[in-house]
Symmetry: D2
Subunit: 326 residues, 4 copies
């Protein structure tokens, strides 16, 4: 269950304060150009401390590609990679070994496995997403080579509001919008493999995400059918398109050639910079004084993660679609 | 891609106007009691024509169980079943063979496969969901036997609004809320198998669904961390619970023992009972005069479908969780 | 676990004395011609009673195709089908409800599930293979359309030996040889998805099979490297081939364009037509007097099953291979 | 396709002369003791140069465990690991960039991907199996903790024969026998997931393997049913066992509690220490003068690989079986 995808699969591993995070991207076709510097830049967009309100954990997150790429090209073999965990302050977490932080995975994880690496959240830490961004960055390069682009934007965070929240040791949530342009007609599989169902699963697997919608999304609850009809039109080049895009580029679970549009909601960061009442492993009341390094708002760092998940899903479906006709 | 689930898997088949719809539910443990009459009643909740605003297609949808259940108990073998397509008016669809209805799968399907059974929407028809409800009804019975219940409700549809829309040949969307009660602590897998990611994928695979949220969902975009903190408390029985449930019963992708709450948005039915401008297979303008039987609002019939998807996901994760510790 | 394949998947269901056997063949590309009469003839090759030494169960095994094929062509949707169990004599098996037949699945099945449909062997009966032959027959037609053929032969069974064994209520085993001709270069995946590993798994899943080898197989244990070297040669058409075929058409797990050759061993039929000492469910000694209808030698009926498994694996790998390069 | 297993999955990566080999073992339950020194010893059994007739490549193969194990216990999270490729002599392979060695994967790989890392065989090298042995060694420890043992033996290689072959630059094949003791009743899944089918696929995926049999295997072709009947008997402890074990511990694809016995045939090593005639990428005749380091007989090094594959399959099925009943 640490694997996503069908043909293009990503398997990740790593605990926040272990030796390294890493992953295996399997199923990438042979012969794809990979620019390593560009990949490192993509991964750097996820780094902490580069944006106001984000955590002060400053590691470089240097990508070590171990296999699958040779002389700048993919080999068709699995791409193994690691990112060392260099800058860990595990002592910050000592008191959490026996306590459960509210709105974190501490309690459920302990109940599920009976054991956990509490340091920095262990496997449940959002640090896990660094492996997604390495794989996603490779997928983005492959898509770009086909004229497909992926762009995520955070809905504007009010700077005054953010400063005010931070001053009170509080945190904020927000919405990320993502658009995929240039997707060819026909990607996505009917019934359980609908393109938007796969995108939803991928986005909902990002830590802190609480909702997903595509096209007009939840607004459709209060609209009439006649108001949201994407009428067809023949374009100058003879192809068929739609005049509007309430459907978000997907009809019947299959891409229709328009932009794929989606929105993803992130909950406020659950670690506040103030005392929090909670319980220990026996249910006794405790006060948690957080001392780790944490973001006040996760949105800026989330953008390359959202783009990565979108790119991995689109590229996987591009490959799957090749098997639909002889 | 017509299969969902990991241990408990459902594979479905069937075109709307073919001989039969059907499915195979595999991985159901042995020895589970299945009440056939109760199952038929569950399936009947999805029937057309029973609720104002729903389609007039009146077939009985009689479930034929072909394997896997013997003397009222599951055998641990795959449960194969079919539902005959009795009441089909294929002639209603003749003119659609060469046309694309807006906001339907006609266009994308034709582009993807180069061939389609246009009658009644073929495989892209929501009739496909009847197989989900048969399997879901069995899963619901298994869950009930463990004290777990699943309940979906449609947010109230204004009857005047519905009548007004129908009078104009128009349609409405809406939101379905679903609550799963009694889920044990610890279900769901970290990273890509988060319980809410699996639920999202399952719900988004239902025809017409455009969005999914759990717990406080999209509202979390404008909330502070301190406002949505589900503080822990020791209950009288010694167990640990939370005072509030902004998290919707899931933390870190793993159930925490509280009610699992989610909301699913359905777009308005795309088939209007009025002339629609569109294009044919060559991009030439045409006018479509729908003659099939269609719902003005899909919500009432969607409830057992939503419950089925929830039940299948929860039961699958119940089984997966059995493999997490020795 | 009642599903095989990755892109082209077959899921089967059905107990020997239940209402029907059936399956779902998913992932078949759209637009493939399927000749229904030819398919029925292929399935008929597996029928009992047509060959000396085979069981007297005479049902017709009429294939009912329920979906996925329309106007003689595949739609790209799942192909659902059933075969009714018409000619069942369940009473023959009454005494077996509480006994375990040696070399059958009775004992292990009971231990695994705590419940079983003992009639005719239930799900463990070789009758299950009828669903494989339906799906396999469709795959064979698709392969034939690409110039690929599959042929299984049983190593000659000595007729006198068979008559002698039958006269004594005894049974025989044997070896089936299978050749696939015309397979294009490049099918099969490195490491865990080697073409011969997939073929082995498929063949070993046929009831009664105890071994699999390809190319020179077990003979290679006593050969020197220099004796079995398939030297390369440039053919007249400029392509590269090998002079000999000790490798059985597969090198490094990937087809090399030569004939794929394999051998599969079947154990003697475990049901003898004589009294057998055994134990009941409590371990008490019993004598089993078999009364069902059984083959003395399974080989003649096994041929279309072996061909079906080969065809399904080859076609699946043909589709997978389409995703290896852009 | 670089992944094996269903619940307990192993994904491997790495080219022979790349930076590192590695893998991710996912699905291992939490709380299993792992002795790191013992694991390193297990991996060392696969090392070259320790046995007469094996390759002179002397790297240490030091295992670096990166995640999933903490304080000597598994966490229930994916176990990521790498083994650096320290002692590579890539120059030995320069002339092979444009040539195909007979009975190797060079030709098929080039045809499949249009690109390959020819150095040391790249991904097709048997060096890939080092990752299997790391994962397998962990699985063996988990099984041992449950009283299950796995033992592989090579059928005796005649030392004089081996020396004679080596003197002539030739190589030998052979058979490995493997026994798994203490397997509980009930492991393995009916139909496509039969325990022996899974074992066959796992063994056949080892480089150079050409055949697999279990129990009496290919001998069953010439036996009568009455000669190979494993009669049941009640043991002193009240349990039911069999008097003989022609079935190799598996009946109907499910373990019956007896020893699981199997035999695996390895072809002679395809790299001879003498000039070999072959062709280059254009089909022109060339002479290949092998200069790498290679085994004359692979059997001694194959034992821990065979044990690893057996252990991974048995443990996976142990976990799968937990989902068969509530």
């Amino acid at each position: 269950m640490n694997t996503m995808g069908k043909i293009l699969t990503l398997t990740t591993f790593g605990e926040s304060h272990g030796l390294a995070m890493g992953g295996v991207l399997d199923g990438m076709p042979a012969g794809v150009n990979v620019d390593i510097d560009k990949l490192q830049c993509f991964v750097d967009r996820r780094r902490a401390g580069l944006v106001a309100g984000t955590s002060a954990r400053h590691e470089r997150d240097r990508v070590e590609l171990l296999s699958g790429i040779w002389q700048g090209k993919t080999l068709g073999t699995p791409i193994g990679f690691i990112i060392r965990n260099a800058n860990v302050h595990s002592d910050d977490y000592d008191e959490l070994a026996q306590c459960f932080r509210p709105n974190h995975a501490d309690f459920t994880w302990q109940a599920k496995y009976g054991i956990r690496d509490h340091r920095g959240g262990g496997r449940a830490s959002a640090r896990e997403t660094v492996a997604r961004v390495v794989a996603g960055g490779i997928a983005v390069q492959a898509l770009n080579g086909m004229g497909i682009t992926v762009e995520a934007k955070a809905s504007p965070v009010d700077e005054a509001l953010l400063q005010q929240a931070m001053a009170q040791g509080d945190t904020l949530g927000g919405v990320v919008e993502c658009v995929v342009r240039g997707v060819p007609l026909g990607l996505g599989e009917p019934v359980f493999g609908k393109l938007h169902a796969q995108l939803a699963a991928a986005m909902m697997s990002i830590p802190s995400v609480h909702g997903f919608e595509y096209g007009d999304g939840f607004q459709l609850a209060s609209r009439r059918g006649s108001e949201v009809m994407d009428l067809f039109v023949r374009r100058d080049d003879g192809s068929i398109g739609t005049v509007t895009n309430h459907s978000g580029g997907i009809q019947g679970g299959i891409s229709n050639g328009e932009d794929i549009t989606m929105r993803i909601v992130f909950k406020p960061v659950p670690t506040l910079m103030r005392d929090m009442p909670s319980v220990d492993i026996d249910g006794n009341p405790v006060t948690i004084k957080p001392r780790g390094r944490h973001d006040a708002c996760v949105l800026p760092r989330a953008l390359p993660i959202v783009e990565s998940m979108a790119a991995l899903v689109i590229l996987d479906n591009y490959l799957i679609h090749k098997t639909n006709v002889f």
